[in-house]
């Protein structure tokens, strides 16, 4: 995101020291949170599962990181704000507000009581998926497509339309119907899911028009194909979310793997893939090294493993969720029947999860190799400089 801010705004990074501090603090908070989670300190809220104090640390870290991003943005030379920047800044603003509002409601000394907790948590979860992380993905999509296709975005007005629709309605999605919640919550969520799906169709049409006939012009067809695939995952995720939130369907799909499948599509298939493509695209430019994609531990191997695994898990969960929901909806069938109908899907999804794990392992090896080669290069360079000065 910082790279995009600097490139599009034609500006140098402001306050790199604070950024470094923020990043270190963020990672410390995450490590502390994960260690506490593994020790059994779960909050019980799926999207805010770490202990409450970790969110204070994360907020402080994010204030430094986000503050630097905003400072850099406001010092930009190019005053025009491009579509990818709208999404970036909405995501930057939205996250700290939402984190503060949700964590103070759920973890304060006098927290929200009873069922209201479910609404607050649902609001946070849908905001995280649709707006914070979703907008990071869309920002990358709108940045990478023109870069890789070597042409301007087809129509920035369509992007603006999608931006406002997603922003207005995205924060109200994700609260499925038929819970013990007041009826208006589920109805509102279902309607907003329809708007979000429509905005995604508009975004896809815009990207499709941009990409029409660019296969031979592309600077990197492999990356462009992955971007296409990621966009497809985003679109499919929003359409399935809309379909699954319709009255009559929501009741069947509630409490099943279906929702997990949509999370995988949106978070891993869409956002995760685009983040990997972004690193793949930016890394040679940042490190001045061309050859990062080939070899057993290269980026292409990482991305192929990751994308295959993510899509496999998503689709298996969506299909499995449908089967699970249909079996659950038949009151004459015992719960053991429901379990045995679902189990084969869970087993297949494990293969996908293993592929994603393998991709992560290869990524770690890749980064370790890169880091060691950087260190060796640095030492050799220092020695050469010493020899030259001695001569």
């Amino acid at each position: 995101m910082l790279w995009m801010t600097m490139r599009l705004g034609q500006v140098k990074l402001r306050g790199p020291g604070f950024l470094f501090l923020g990043t270190v603090l963020w990672n410390i908070a995450l490590v502390v949170g994960i260690v506490r989670l593994m020790g059994g300190s779960q909050s019980g809220y799926a999207f805010l599962s770490m202990p409450g104090f970790v969110y204070t640390m994360l907020f402080t870290a994010y204030a430094l990181i986000g503050g630097i991003m905003l400072l850099t943005f406001f010092k930009r030379q190019d005053r025009e704000i491009y579509p990818s920047q709208w999404f970036t800044y909405a995501s930057i603003y939205w996250f700290p507000w939402m984190l503060t509002a949700a964590s103070s409601a759920l973890f304060a000394s006098e927290p929200t009581r009873g069922l209201a907790q479910a609404v607050v948590h649902g609001w946070y979860a849908s905001g995280m998926i649709t707006i914070v992380l979703g907008f990071v993905g869309i920002a990358l999509l709108q940045y990478l497509v023109p870069k890789l296709a070597r042409r301007d975005l087809h129509n920035s007005n369509l992007s603006a339309f999608a931006f406002w629709v997603l922003l207005l309605f995205g924060g109200f999605t994700g609260l499925l119907q038929a819970q013990a919640l007041p009826a208006w919550v589920g109805t509102l969520s279902g309607i907003c899911n329809a708007f979000v799906a429509f905005a995604w169709i508009v975004l896809t049409v815009n990207l499709w028009k941009t990409l029409q006939g660019t296969d031979t012009d592309s600077s990197d067809p492999f990356a462009l194909n992955l971007v296409r695939l990621a966009a497809l995952c985003g679109l499919l995720g929003s359409l399935l979310n809309f379909w699954g939130s319709r009255p009559g369907v929501a009741e069947t799909l509630q409490f099943t793997l279906y929702l997990q499948g949509i999370y995988w599509l949106q978070l891993f298939g869409f956002v995760g893939t685009l983040l990997l493509v972004a690193v793949y695209h930016f890394l040679p430019r940042i490190s001045d090294r061309e050859n990062i994609s080939s070899g057993l531990f290269g980026w292409k191997a990482i991305m192929v493993l990751y994308v295959t695994g993510s899509i496999l898990v998503s689709l298996v969960y969506v299909l499995g969720g449908r089967v699970q929901g249909t079996t659950l909806a038949d009151g004459n069938r015992s719960f053991l029947d429901v379990q045995s109908a679902t189990m084969s899907f869970i087993r297949i999804s494990t293969i996908g999860e293993l592929l994603v794990f393998l991709a992560a392992a290869v990524l770690v090896i890749n980064l370790a190799i890169r880091f060691v080669s950087y260190l060796v290069g640095y030492v050799v360079c220092c020695l050469n400089c010493k020899n030259e000065s001695a001569q």
């Binding site: 069922l115 922003l167 509102l188 099943t256 929702l259 909806a329």
Partner: protein
């Protein structure tokens, strides 16, 4: 677009609307709920949980049970049973009314059958009928002198599966802090597990090794909640009565740690056993414990 601050204020405005809609308004609507007197049980509902239950809830949280179990019973609608309680002073008229009611409901009621129903009061003469049919039938019996009542029967797969007598409503979660409703059913719903499976020994065995009580269970074993120790002078009163492959070695016993006992206490506290205004049903006193225990394997 060129103005960064315009974008900032527009995003802020949308965020505030979303926050008001889904944080503040539900807080006003749901956050002010308090306990309510339920006449069927003669006390306020729900009651505040004790300290052992609260400890058990913590163990439930730590063990991650919420990842696989929900605590929410769904209901798709209602049906009604029509019960004749009193015949009144004109039995001949009631006979014809019963025949007419049968016609309305699409079943054939003979004179003999009507007589039989009137002889065995209270008698359910129509079962699982829709609200419209019930309204029409009640009109027939109006001013006839007979007493006819409609019993409410909640419907839906969760209820048919025996997970609870009615849907869960906001009031049931008043003391759930944090709210552990769950989002996925990889295991059965636990909203009413304290009523349908009310034997602590069964739960302890299930936690120690799920397949010792449910043959095809896919639940992981929580053996770390138990100590396997040599039997002292006398066996521990809490030792599990395990058999077959799950029994400990000769001279050893499996004793639950305090965390396991607290968790079981929490599970037994999860009960939906009375109607509330938002979710009425025909309330009868709970069945005796023995009858429930016999149903345990089936309910799983």
């Amino acid at each position: 677009m060129q103005k960064g601050y315009q974008l900032f204020f527009a995003i802020l405005a949308v965020m505030v609307v979303s926050w008001l809609g889904l944080v503040v308004f539900p807080q006003i609507q749901l956050g002010s709920q308090s306990t309510r007197e339920v006449k069927e049980i003669g006390r306020h509902y729900p009651t505040e949980p004790g300290s052992l239950v609260l400890n058990g809830r913590k163990v439930y949280q730590q063990a991650g049970c919420v990842a696989c179990h929900t605590q929410q019973i769904r209901q798709s609608g209602y049906a009604f049973d029509l019960v004749l309680n009193e015949v009144g002073d004109f039995p001949e008229i009631i006979t014809s009314k019963l025949i007419e009611a049968g016609k309305l409901a699409g079943i054939q009621v003979t004179n003999e059958k009507a007589q039989e129903q009137m002889a065995n009061l209270p008698s359910t003469f129509l079962e699982a009928r829709s609200f419209d049919v019930v309204q029409d039938v009640l009109k027939i019996f109006k001013d006839s002198g007979a007493t006819v009542v409609a019993d409410i029967l909640p419907l839906g797969p969760d209820i048919e599966r025996g997970w609870g007598p009615r849907q869960t409503v906001g009031l049931d979660y008043l003391y759930h802090q944090p709210l552990l409703m769950g989002q996925q059913r990889l295991g059965p719903d636990l909203a009413n597990v304290g009523v349908r499976l009310n034997d602590p020994q069964w739960h302890l065995k299930h936690l120690y090794h799920p397949r010792s009580v449910v043959t095809k269970s896919s639940m992981p074993a929580y053996t770390y909640l138990f100590d396997v120790q040599p039997i002292g002078e006398e066996p521990s009163p809490h030792a599990l009565a395990l058999e077959g492959d799950y029994a400990p070695e000769e001279g050893m016993e499996v004793v639950p740690k305090p965390e396991a006992l607290a968790l079981v206490d929490y599970l037994l506290s999860l009960k939906i056993e009375n109607p509330v205004f938002e979710a009425p049903y025909m309330f009868t006193q709970a069945e005796p414990g023995e009858a429930n225990n016999a149903k345990m394997e089936q309910a799983q």
